[in-house]
Subunit: 371 residues, 4 copies
């Protein structure tokens, strides 16, 4: 208790913080309000990103355990929801940036070129830690890879490139950790490694596919009523038939390399199982985890699309300061970057409760104290 | 003053309103909370749309006058901002819809098929009155045109198709009314019909194009510094050169049919003029009009993208109840539907104040009382 | 499947809905945009209120059961969160109302007098069903009780008074149902009715009070450092001492009538127990319930304060149409109306984990499958 | 163009920024996610405050001119709206803070005591520069003045106290600058200093008071219809009569010291004039200024009330780390701190357009080019 009394300015480091808005000038007094605003909004984004990264590491660590205790899931859900909220806050700041008119932004834009938001190391770290594979990245619009864009102009290492290089080694990604945990989900009361697990999972998948076919048939009957012409009816039939075939192919993981197929198929079956039998007590928190991941990735897509809208509004569709294709690049990343692809894909083949196959071993998922 | 005292329930028509949530059932008691929520959110959207439509008509009427009094512009801006706010509120309601889980939505989804949000007449009316041309509409994914989707199943007229048919005749669109007003903007002090107007506008456009070229050159110099290879530098040069060429072609309206070219070019020059000399008193409200239209159309795009995200989250990428391609259709409309294309295009070629050509006849735009 | 294909306009009842905005006129064409906006915002509020009420009934029914199954809690939490979200949406609509200027609102204000938002039956029903006691209501500023304000001018029954009268009989309130459930919470592994329960609860309360005293002592030491004068130090000491005394008096329910004291004390002990040992698996959902109720009531207070701000902005501090004291009345209800007083009071006496008394019988709260 | 290419990390100062979250520890690794979040949210608030302060200085400087050019008003409005938006963003961050549970916040709360948000110099600077008089401040709950709370524990100057001391000398406040500008508003075409100005302003005020009396009479008639008893009717009459008397007393500035009375009365008359004849071209921007100030101060009140709600939710009603009365203090400042009191007061006595006295000299307020 002998320590010096804490002050707000020491604890928050207010003076140090408020000295960082000079851009490339010697003194802040050389900058106008617009440029200081531009700098501050980016700084605030970096601060939110920092919180997201810390939370991402914690949640990843939790799922990376060989055994994830059930009560830890509530804590994982809290972390996922916090990230979701933070990302939504970041997206709301674009409105502040939009108080810049095009002409006023152009007044200082040349000063910052060729710097660019693509050089934000933390945004790249978030994508990497979530699990976005390098191979799926969209080129920036010039010959640089995203890693080159993070280096200094002469190609040497920078604080940004060092951060990202370190993060690429920080394994597993949240995606991989969550998949490892999903793989172990009890399906119809059976867990991996247990004798007959493969057969029971397959039986569940087969039964589920039959349910899904019934559901799609129903939807098709209804759609057919509105079909104007035989051609239209035929085209709709084709679309529904391919939904059934696609569901089966997905659940059997026909797109996965053969060595991986059983594992991927079990993960997808687990997702369908959790979503379908949501009211089973033991699935209450896993279900919140899955819902949380959907909300989180949705928040990311909304953030990217809102980013594209802000850029389009402030500078139009010109070439970005970092030489990128600007708005189009941002809109493409929003539509194409997805980490939790299986979690999303499952939503397309869910069916209503009334047609679900019956749960086996329901007691396994119940509370012991409530028979 | 002899009238009966007004009551809240008569004025708001509370009882009539609260009796409308029965869906296709006889009694509301047959519906669960989820379905009532689904119905109510759509009803609220329709109510907001109604307000947007009323405001849209008022603002359109204002711009459709042969002479728009300057003081009327403040009132137009107020209407545009109100529409912007309303659209943003509608977009915020998707979060309420997302409290439905996929499985719970599927429990009543078949009941409403083949009805679909594409049958919302007011949404179509808003698009039409704003000025979205039929030719630019994206097909719904079946053989129906959007007008057929609004008719009853046997192809006869419906309340929805009647509304839309009437709106198609309600001319001019906001786009056309605004363009007619923009066309009359004084440019360098010159107005259409005045002797030498064409020459002065052309001189302004030429001077502006030179400014834009200078600005793009500067950006290119900076981008070149970061180019890693000669190939990369060359590609960047190509991109910048095409920005210069595109700006010139756009301002000379080379894309417009020859008979229209002079008119379109004058409108585009007016937009550049208003955006560039924002501080001139007489341009204060026109500038707010243009800013307001950008904000409004941006709010529309954000609404469409947020709509796509909600649908993807709740039902995934399956075929929509109306037989549409669902999420993909919505994402495509967001990226491709634009009404105020020229307003947006101008943002791409604006330049910073320092390189602008000088204003001629500045006094023309000033306050008489402030020499 | 032989039913008529559903249409959007039948299902949503679009035409009936869009015919309800005539206010006290024969035809909507007599109304300006401002008045239609005023009517629509109130209608939308009533629609949201309807959803809140339906959800409130469901959640109340759930807690009103003699035994609340653990897995039902997740569903209760979902309902509570949905109400929270809906209330926040309602609060966001005040921004739409604020697009009315004072002068423009006054143009039609006399038409609606003496109608008033205080005549919204559903708002009163929500308060009643949550559990706001009549005795705590603040007078409207005239001699009417809130029930009289809901009758017609001649004092006869109205649709509003009938709704509220029926709701007053709809028991129990959410408050009472939740308290009944909280009362049964196992504390240190002991449940009511079990031999020695009273003693174990009392022992927990005593131990907790000692922890709280230690925590307050620590805070006082730190605060004392900054005290400038002996008088200031003394006053701070007094304030901290009364925090300790108040905590004890609260936990022993000294404010409750003697016959109720044991029951109230057990409920408060349960709240402290749930908040303090949040990580115990069996408390995971009860904790979410308590957090949800806090969020819900906070959303209600925010809604009331935001309402006061809107009224102050649009009409200032004049007498309301219903003869009420306007802004002041609204601000007072925000500060004084509270339903879940015990849930809030507990927050004031929580302590950090490090000083908590140890949990007894922790195994009781664990998962059987995870020893 | 020979300068080193700018990088994102140099321009935004990312590494310096991300090194400031250590609190009172040597290394950030000693801190948990919750504490880092707590620090970051405060840092972000300080960054937003910085932008608000810069904007506040610019807008104040603009109004502090002896003559404010009409076209400068649009720029003032832009600054006011930007501050409003920024304050609303700050208020939205409380939701992030609320992801801290009470227990988890208490885990590190002692570390920061006796530091407190009351030590935020910038928040005090904003209040001072807006024009909150020291005499109206509510005591923090201990003997410290707000200035003492900004000093170090031993009473010596701190970075915070230095900032605030400097700001107290930075005159005029926005309130005073705006009042000086409002004083010069032409009323019925007459400006201060012009012969007969006092008489014409007084004639306007008298005419306006008669209009207001007519309007209040109308409202009273309507309210009387609902009065249940003669006592109630009498009480309502009393309330309306005092509204009329209060309006007159306010407009004649009877509350102001005699030497100030004429000046204050002219300012209040100007506010009524601007609000009442909003459609006059010359009043278009002054009206936006007044609307902007109302929105800004409302945003401040909403921010304070939301702040109180967050504190109540996270720590309840205990004594604050800085020794303050916590929630109650915050709620009181929200209700009692007002800077633009006259702007607010005017809203209470505005009347609908139909009963306004006629404008004299309307041409004075028109556009010269539009007779």
């Amino acid at each position: 208790m002998a320590r010096k009394p804490t002050t707000y300015w020491d604890y928050i480091k207010v003076e140090e913080l408020l000295a960082l808005q000079t851009g490339i000038a010697e003194r802040e007094s050389e900058l106008g309000n617009d440029e200081v605003l531009f700098i501050v909004v980016h700084q605030i984004d970096e601060l939110w990103f920092k919180l997201i990264l810390r939370e991402l590491v914690s949640v990843r660590d939790l799922f990376a355990q060989a055994h994830v205790p059930e009560q830890a899931l509530a804590s994982a859900v809290r972390g996922i929801r916090r990230m979701d909220l933070l990302l939504r806050k970041v997206a709301e700041h674009f409105a502040v940036m939009e108080t810049l008119t095009t002409r006023d932004y152009l007044a200082f834009r040349d000063k910052l070129s060729p710097a660019s938001g693509f050089q934000s190391a933390q945004m790249r770290e978030i994508e990497i830690l979530l699990g976005l594979p390098d191979a799926e990245r969209i080129p920036l619009g010039h010959e640089h890879t995203y890693m080159q864009a993070l280096r200094t102009a002469d190609g040497s290492e920078s604080p940004a490139s060092r951060r990202v290089t370190a993060r690429l080694k920080d394994k597993p990604t949240l995606h991989d950790a969550v998949h490892a945990w999903l793989f172990r989900t009890p399906i119809q009361g059976s867990t991996p490694g247990q004798p007959g697990d493969a057969e029971r999972v397959r039986a569940f998948v087969d039964a589920y596919c039959r349910s899904q076919e019934v559901a799609v048939q129903g939807a098709m009957e209804l759609a057919r009523i509105e079909a104007l012409t035989p051609e239209d009816a035929k085209r709709l039939e084709g679309r529904f038939a391919s939904e059934v075939a696609a569901a089966r192919a997905f659940l059997l993981a026909e797109d996965a390399p053969e060595a991986e197929r059983a594992r991927v198929a079990r993960i997808r079956a687990a997702l369908v199982f959790i979503e379908s039998y949501r009211e089973l007590p033991l699935l209450a928190w896993p279900r919140e985890v899955v819902d949380g991941l959907v909300a989180l990735e949705q928040a990311f897509v909304v953030f990217r699309q809102r980013h594209a809208r802000m850029v389009e509004r402030v500078i139009g569709r010109r070439t970005g300061t970092g030489g990128s294709a600007g708005v189009e690049y941002l809109d493409q990343t929003a539509l194409r970057y997805r980490v939790f692809r299986d979690v999303w894909a499952v939503r397309t083949l869910l069916v209503r409760q009334a047609v679900l196959p019956p749960v086996e071993n329901a007691a396994f998922y119940g509370f012991v104290g409530e028979p």
